[in-house]
């Protein structure tokens, strides 16, 4: 047995297994740090930056920050939460998010995070990008308007489904999700409604057809309890101590 090691999160001790990152260790110890592109079943990615924490006077994405004994990490501070609110506002402004008409409302991690962080207004001018939907597939709909570029579907399709259905293309603000078909249409890929890449989408991009609104709004996942409570239940315990390696 390796010696028990700990770091400090907001002044309280959090145990970790060498190889874990700060976010992984915190979640498996029942401590919540807001996050969006991190998913317990995948290698930390570090792109959304919502899980940013402060340590040693500098900011780091906690999902990729290796846990070290004696590290002092500040997360639940007004400064960090304000940063997180701004980042979530940025994601709302970047895409076209109309929660009242979205099938994912109540099951959406972005929306839930917005509520949990106490987001009260848009904050920024919206970009209103032109992103056509892809309804070609008989049982799935792709609504790119809601994509937050977390790459979970890319990772799930490559690592779990073994299909490489999704990729990222473009650069900067023009970065966007594409599917692996010469036609560019989802119908011409080998995706199935049961694929991990479909289930893993945290927002309303990859939707199953003909099951919309089966659960009424008000009775959905994050209507019951906030995302901060549910994220802890999802965290694997005991944690899978997967060392972070380069993630792209």
């Amino acid at each position: 047995m390796s010696e028990r090691q700990e770091f400090l999160l907001d002044g309280e001790e959090v145990p970790f297994i060498p190889g874990q990152t700060v976010l992984q260790a915190a979640l498996s110890a029942g401590r919540y740090i807001p996050h969006l592109c991190y998913h317990p079943e995948f290698k930390p990615h570090g792109s959304c930056k919502v899980c940013t924490v402060k340590s040693g006077g500098r900011t780091h994405a906690s999902c990729t920050l290796p846990a070290r004994a004696g590290l002092e990490v500040d997360s639940a501070t007004e400064e960090m939460n304000q940063l997180r609110r701004t980042l979530v506002q940025m994601l709302f402004a970047e895409g076209n998010h109309f929660c009242p008409s979205c099938e994912k409302s109540g099951n959406c991690a972005l929306q839930a995070l917005g509520y949990d962080l106490g987001l009260t207004h848009a904050g920024f001018r919206h970009f209103f990008p032109d992103r056509p939907v892809d309804a070609s597939h008989p049982s799935l709909l792709l609504d790119f308007n809601r994509c937050i570029l977390c790459e979970l579907c890319v990772r799930a399709s490559a690592e779990v489904d073994g299909k490489n259905i999704f990729s990222l293309s473009g650069r900067g603000i023009g970065k966007h999700l594409i599917v692996n078909a010469a036609s560019g249409r989802l119908a011409d890929t080998g995706i199935a409604a049961t694929d991990k890449s479909v289930a893993v989408c945290p927002v309303g991009v990859i939707l199953k057809k003909r099951v919309g609104f089966a659960v009424p709004i008000g009775k959905r996942r994050y209507d019951e309890r906030p995302i901060s409570a549910q994220a802890l239940e999802d965290a694997p315990r005991p944690p899978a101590a997967t060392a972070i390696q380069e993630t792209q």
Binding site: P44, G46, S47, C48, K49, V50, T52, T59, A61, T64, P66, L83, T86, L87, M90, L91, A93, E94, F124, R125, F127, L149, N164, F166, S167, L168, S169, G170, R171, G172, I173, G174, K175, I178, V179, N180, A181, A182, I244, Q245, E246, T247, Q248
Partner: protein, 597 residues
């Protein structure tokens, strides 16, 4: 017939690159160069050959500015859009060429003949405005030159047949020091090193106090040592010649005039760390240097300075290959550069692990700037203590500066560290400077009160860009140019940089259009904070430097553009009708909304 020629090209291309997916970017670049674009079927064929998903190949192609998947175009003209190009009249020249060719900026002409657009700094600031035609650099553009270019394009004359004097690029070495004036002959430093063991070479570099010349200033000796000691049986040397920081062009000159010194430094590094393979990652804008550099490599192989048993020393094997970039500033960040070398999208990696332990193909890799390798060669020849005696205690040696902007003698200047800005301004003939941007848009903007400051890691660190702005220049426009640059070059990986740089650009546009308010200045400051705190790499955290500095030092240039209102919406009602006006061909009073005067 197009079909047949494509299959033929594809076949030779794929074979030459050993069907290796790591070579994807090089293959795409070559397809672009010979076909003028990368068509969907070419992507599909390449993906098949390499066993990659087509979407991944497309994702790589669409990441790089010089790879085009949108449609064929025989002549792609790209005007360098650095602030120094603009100061030399590039915007009016671009409009002029568009007029001559009856084109709209950024759109390919109907018959697929020509397009005219802008690109980030091409490194010709001392002889601008610069442009690229199908990737080939042309300096000192004038209206007369554009008339000639327009004739050649309309006459469909291949670029290879254009007059060669269009493409002559000057070195403009104005002040040579220990490096530019060393007169070191090919192999001279290597001979010194190969008589000793690698560790003593490492000790020399450590003793010299040499720090990386790419801007970050990490101790070169420590980097080499960490790489040498990292576990693994294959190591790599990578020379970062992706000189993308606007206003920098010293690596262009080093690679044109001192290529042997660069390769010598890389070979020395290989000797010190125990590497057998090296790469020079050359920015796409310097495409014209590819063949001359390959000739230098061939000569060095023939002279026994590269290849097997270098200088007769058993087991000292090392060779260098040149990889070309394709228009992505972010690839100057070392881990993004490695991703790009591996044929991927140039996204900076999460660190740790660092390249010295897990770099190219996850193996120990030393990445250094062009100038760093040159300095290492010099140190090997003359000794670490000698080098350390030059400069300041914390910044040993000399620094090359690329000087451009409002001065009489733009060009390359070599100074010992510790030289004051005032001295530099006097030497290059900048009599009436209002401000200097030190180390490019990601560096700092300093005003006249700070001209006593010095070029040094402990005062004003610099990667070499030195842009001078005279009294009549509008510093708001300077900052706006830089903000546009970052928005264009953001890789898009992390939220703060991808969205934040575009928001910053939007806020600057709003102020430039005369719709800004105090509220917008507040938004800029908030965005600066987020970029600083949360960006994934140096590009994002530096993206706010120019607005931060100019807001602090030249605030009146922002304020005089503001409306006195507390808030004004960015949405322009009348502007929203512009498309409808274009479609109906109307522009009369009735087609405009009344605006309150």
């Amino acid at each position: 017939m197009v079909e047949l020629s494509w299959k033929l090209l594809l076949n030779t291309l794929v074979q030459r690159h050993g069907r290796n997916p790591v070579r994807l970017l090089q293959m795409l670049r070559e397809v672009q160069e010979s076909k003028g674009w990368i068509a969907p079927e070419m992507i599909a064929d390449l993906a098949d050959w390499l066993g990659l998903p087509g979407s991944q190949v497309r994702g790589v192609a669409d990441f790089y500015s010089f790879l085009h998947t949108g449609g064929p175009c025989r002549y792609r003209v790209l005007f360098s859009d650095n602030i120094t190009d603009r100061m030399q009249g590039s915007e009016a020249l671009l409009d002029y060429l568009c007029g001559r060719l009856l084109l709209e900026k950024g759109r390919v002409s109907e018959e697929g003949l020509v397009s005219v657009d802008t690109t980030s700094c091409t490194g010709l600031c001392d002889q601008g405005p610069g442009l690229l035609v199908n990737g080939w650099a042309i300096p000192g553009v004038t209206r007369e030159r554009l008339d000639q270019i327009a004739e050649l394009i309309l006459g469909r004359r291949p670029v290879e047949q254009w007059p060669s004097d269009f493409f002559v690029i000057q070195d403009h070495i104005r002040r040579a020091g220990i490096l530019l004036g060393s007169g070191l002959k090919p192999g001279e430093a290597l001979r010194v090193a190969s008589q000793r063991d690698p560790v003593s070479l490492l000790e020399q570099v450590k003793a010299s106090g040499l720090r990386g010349r790419g801007g970050a200033g990490f101790a070169t000796g420590l980097k080499w040592e960490a790489c040498r000691n990292a576990p693994g049986d294959q190591r790599y040397v990578v020379c970062n010649a992706d000189e993308g920081e606007p206003g920098t062009f010293k690596d262009r000159v080093l690679l044109s005039r001192y290529a042997d010194l660069v390769f010598e430094g890389m070979t020395l590094c290989a000797y010190a760390i125990g590497a057998a393979e090296g790469f020079l990652y050359l920015r796409g804008e310097y495409r014209y240097l590819l063949e001359p550099l390959r000739e230098v490599l061939n000569r060095r192989r023939a002279e026994g300075l590269l290849g097997r048993n270098i200088l007769g020393r058993q087991g000292f094997d090392f060779d260098i290959e040149i990889h070309l970039g394709a228009g992505a500033y972010v690839c100057g960040e070392e881990s993004a550069l490695i991703e790009s070398l591996e044929g991927k999208r140039g996204i900076p990696r999460n660190r740790p692990p660092y390249p010295v332990t897990q770099g190219y193909l996850q193996r120990p890799t030393t990445v250094n700037n062009v100038e760093t390798f040159c300095a290492a060669a010099l140190i090997t020849h003359k000794g670490g203590d000698w080098y350390r005696s030059i400069g300041t205690p914390k910044s040993a040696g000399t620094k090359l500066l690329s000087i451009s902007g409002d001065c009489a003698k733009p060009g390359i200047y070599e100074y010992p560290f510790g030289t004051s800005i005032r001295q530099i301004l006097a030497d290059c003939g900048a009599e009436d400077a209002q401000a200097v941007q030190v180390s490019g848009p990601s560096g700092r903007c300093i005003d006249a009160t700070e001209f006593g400051r010095r070029i040094a890691f402990e005062d004003l660190p610099t990667a070499g860009s030195f842009m001078i702005f005279g009294q009549e220049r509008d510093m708001f426009e300077v900052a706006r140019n830089f903000v546009e640059f970052f928005a264009h070059e953001s890789c898009g990986f992390c939220t703060p940089c991808r969205v934040g740089t575009s928001m910053l650009k939007g806020a600057m546009e709003k102020i430039a259009a005369g719709h800004g308010t105090a509220c917008d200045l507040g938004e800029i400051e908030a965005l600066d904070r987020v970029l600083n705190q949360a960006a994934h790499c140096g590009l994002g955290s530096a993206a706010c430097n120019s607005t931060l500095d100019t807001l602090k030092k030249f605030r009146p240039t922002y304020e005089r553009r503001l409306k006195s209102l507390e808030f004004e919406p960015a949405f322009d009602l009348d502007g929203a009708l512009a498309r409808a006006r274009r479609m109906t061909g109307r522009d009369d009073a009735g087609a405009h909304l009344e605006t309150e005067a």
